[in-house]
């Protein structure tokens, strides 16, 4: 039938379109639009939401950061890069940067090593396999508030469980919250508690895709468990490792709830700002309603994350194994 013609045309594009029949031509146009435009409509939801809640805030924050902008005043004076100049000379900003990096390294590195090791242990025939895997994920589904409140008590100075256990070994009373290093350790432990299992599951998924023959061959060649992990597993799951390293690092850059709650809601992160992270520093300026300055810090943090993600990518890419 003639009305079916456009369909056939589309199926065999080498034929010229039928131009003499306007009705058929219109159908043809609709079909072409469908082929060209529909895919965009299908991916549009993400981009619409991303523009509304990702791109627009990002751009607007940049705009705000160029102003003296407080919530209660209706006048927003344009000050150019003044906020950034102040920021670069602000001791508290650099202190927060140091704390963020320190907590980031302290939490991410052991966390990922532990996660790979846990995944390796689980990547073998086990009884009640699902139980183990679910258990790994449990800390992650616990509310962060609950985790921090409990851990703050464990790390308590006078009546904390950890100090009590340490006292058996003759370690004196540690004021975890007061010291810079001790508070960073305490916060890192909370982060590791929540995310190690989650990352282990991602690694486990990747490990299950590693061909069994490689391990069998290695076993025949006399390679032990650790050697197999180092020489086979890690090189093969390298793309997954890169992914996890980057997401964990970005996560570590954005730590907010843990230090905020560890300091019982103090936005300064301890009296000496000993564990004030960058996010907490933004939050402090935000609750002071100094939006211009808070936006400037946000943008600096964004730049840091981009730089660190790039460095991470380059570093992890170099851990290339012999297999690939």
């Amino acid at each position: 039938m003639a009305t079916r013609a456009p369909d056939n045309l589309a199926a065999t594009p080498s034929l010229p379109p039928v131009r003499h029949r306007p009705r058929a031509y219109r159908r043809h146009l609709v079909h072409r639009l469908d082929v060209k435009v529909s895919p965009y409509a299908y991916v549009a939801p993400f981009f619409l939401l991303f523009c509304a809640f990702g791109l627009f805030p990002l751009a607007y924050t940049a705009w705000v950061s160029l102003h003296e902008w407080t919530l209660l005043s209706d006048v927003h004076e344009f000050v150019g890069l003044d906020n950034f100049v102040t920021l670069l000379g602000d001791d508290y900003f650099w202190n927060a940067t140091f704390n963020t990096l320190s907590i980031g390294v302290l939490s991410t590195v052991p966390q990922l090593l532990l996660a790979i090791w846990l995944a390796h242990l689980l990547n073998r025939p086990l009884r009640t396999q699902t139980l183990f895997r679910v258990t790994l994920l449990l800390p992650n589904v616990t509310s962060v508030v609950a985790v921090v409140v409990i851990f703050s008590q464990l790390f308590g100075r006078d009546y904390g469980l950890i100090n009590w256990v340490l006292s058996w070994f003759g370690v004196g009373v540690i004021d975890w919250n007061a010291g810079t290093a001790t508070s960073h350790v305490a916060i890192s432990v909370m982060i590791m508690w929540r995310w190690t299992g989650y990352n282990a599951l991602i690694f486990l998924a990747a490990m299950q895709a590693v061909p069994r023959e490689l391990y069998e061959a290695a076993t025949i060649d006399g390679a032990g468990g650790m050697t197999q992990l180092r020489k086979i597993t890690v090189p093969v799951i390298r793309p997954t490792i890169i992914f996890v390293v980057i997401t964990s690092t970005i996560g570590a850059m954005q730590i907010l709830a843990e230090p905020l709650l560890f300091g019982t809601y103090s936005p300064t992160g301890g009296p000496d700002r000993q564990y004030q992270t960058l996010s907490l520093f933004i939050y402090e300026n935000f609750v002071k309603l100094d939006f211009g300055y808070a936006s400037a810090v946000s943008w600096m943090m964004f730049l840091f994350i981009v730089v660190i993600a790039a460095v991470n990518y380059l570093l992890t890419r170099r851990t290339r194994g012999n297999l690939t």
Partner: protein
């Protein structure tokens, strides 16, 4: 099939747009969820929200209000002290999310009264008639800066006393009778010396006081001028009384008298229960906090006079009605009921909140009130005496932030991170950041 696909794409696109639009809509309207909906007719069901920063023991009063207003449902929500006030600031600025009745504490009242157009003028709802009831200074704190509008009505004031643990005093060989204990510390210097005796007695697990911040606040509160002068200029850095209070508090810390517990933190709660400190500065409302936080310590406490010869107000609250509320008439009536004589009388016996209505200071229910929890201390008499001696101080707009800066400074000394001089210098720098 070619006909079907474009047909599907259109509704799909429409759905996508709809999702995006609703997502934005609900994002923007999120904060308004607390506000009551629609313009209500008088008989219609009304929901009033009341936002507080701790348990004010208002529940029985709500029931009373419902007797005369059967159509009103009251929902109370509570947040942590600083969060409550920060939230309120953003809610006022963005025009959404505030409750119908908001509690504002004395440290923040001067932040909010200048924003007179954000609040209902309670004079419009006939509450101006209450002026005669009130302590003059408490009434004035609730007015707009030009004095023309009534924005908030006071609940309580915070006359000062010193709570102490008789069991720990006994162990340290100090007197336990409240008259004799009061004689131990006519001044804050004498309080520090008594503390040295207590520390020397080495009572296991116990220090002299909880933390330096609240003592510092009390000493400053007793001075004629605090952090701000009458013209709202920040004078904390140059006011000799503030420096003296800081130095004295720091010296007490260096004398190892502090249990190093920040007030109202979870370890502080534990410390209250376990007897980690022997004395604690007690504005009247804190007798209620102690009872709530450490119920098992009943009978181990007593109340003596505050060092430095009475005077000083710490805390106390106003109730205010933001203009975002849809039911100002009912909100004003609720505020009236929550602050009237009967309510204040009841809140004193229930929660230790000292009335801001001076006529009640001679009411036998209060003057004769003995607090069972505090070894039958005559807290009614102690706190009304303190309230009568009270010389109110002007509270400036960012008094809360200033106090935080000094509190952090004293904690740095306490944690051995800085000498008092270094810490003071840093506190002054922090003050410069307060805009």
């Amino acid at each position: 099939m070619g006909k079907l696909r474009p047909g599907m794409a259109t509704p799909l696109l429409a759905a996508v747009l709809a999702v995006a639009v609703t997502a934005c809509g609900s994002g923007g309207g999120n904060g308004g969820a607390g506000a009551s909906s629609g313009a209500a007719q008088p008989a219609e069901k009304i929901k009033l929200t009341v936002a507080l920063f701790s348990d004010f023991h208002f529940a029985p009063l709500y029931e009373e209000f419902k007797k005369t207003h059967p159509n009103v449902e009251i929902v109370e929500r509570r947040a942590q002290f600083n969060d409550h006030h920060k939230n309120l600031t953003t809610q006022l600025a963005t025009g959404a999310g505030a409750a119908d009745v908001e509690a504002v504490e004395a440290g923040y009242i001067a932040t909010f009264t200048p924003l007179a157009d954000k609040w209902y003028n309670l004079n419009d709802y006939g509450l101006g008639k209450r002026q005669g009831d009130y302590l003059d200074w408490k009434w004035k704190q609730g007015l707009s800066p030009d004095g023309s509008k009534l924005l908030g009505l006071g609940t309580d004031v915070g006359g000062l006393a010193m709570c102490y643990r008789t069991d720990l005093f006994k162990k340290a060989g100090l007197p336990t009778d409240r008259e004799e204990v009061s004689k131990l510390w006519p001044t804050w210097e004498a309080y520090m010396e008594a503390g040295k005796k207590f520390v020397a007695a080495k009572v296991p697990g116990a220090k002299w006081f909880d933390g330096p911040g609240e003592n510092f606040r009390a000493i400053v509160d007793q001075a004629p001028v605090g952090f701000y002068d009458e013209q709202n200029n920040l004078v904390a850095g140059t006011n000799a009384d503030v420096k003296k209070a800081f130095d004295l508090s720091a010296q007490m810390v260096l004398a190892d008298e502090s249990a190093k517990l920040a007030a109202f933190s979870p370890p502080w709660n534990t410390g209250l229960t376990k007897g980690s400190f022997a004395t604690i500065i007690c504005p009247s409302w804190k007798t209620g906090s102690i009872k709530d936080a450490a119920p098992t310590t009943a009978g181990k406490w007593d109340v003596a006079a505050v060092p430095g010869g009475g005077g000083g107000n710490q805390g106390g609250t106003h109730l205010m009605a933001p203009k975002q509320g849809k039911h100002p008439k009912e909100a004003a009536e609720l505020i009236d009921l929550l602050t009237n004589k009967d309510a204040q009388l009841k809140l004193f016996t229930d929660a230790g909140a000292l009335p801001s209505i001076p006529a009640l200071y001679d009411d036998p229910t209060i003057t004769g009130f003995k607090n069972e929890f505090f070894s039958d201390a005559p807290t009614g008499k102690i706190f009304t005496d303190a309230a009568k001696a009270l010389k109110p101080q002007h509270v400036g707009p960012k008094a809360g932030d200033v106090l935080t800066a000094f509190g952090n400074a004293l904690q740095r000394v306490e944690q051995g991170k800085q000498s008092p001089e270094e810490s003071w210098a840093q506190a002054l720098k922090d003050l410069e950041r307060i805009k």
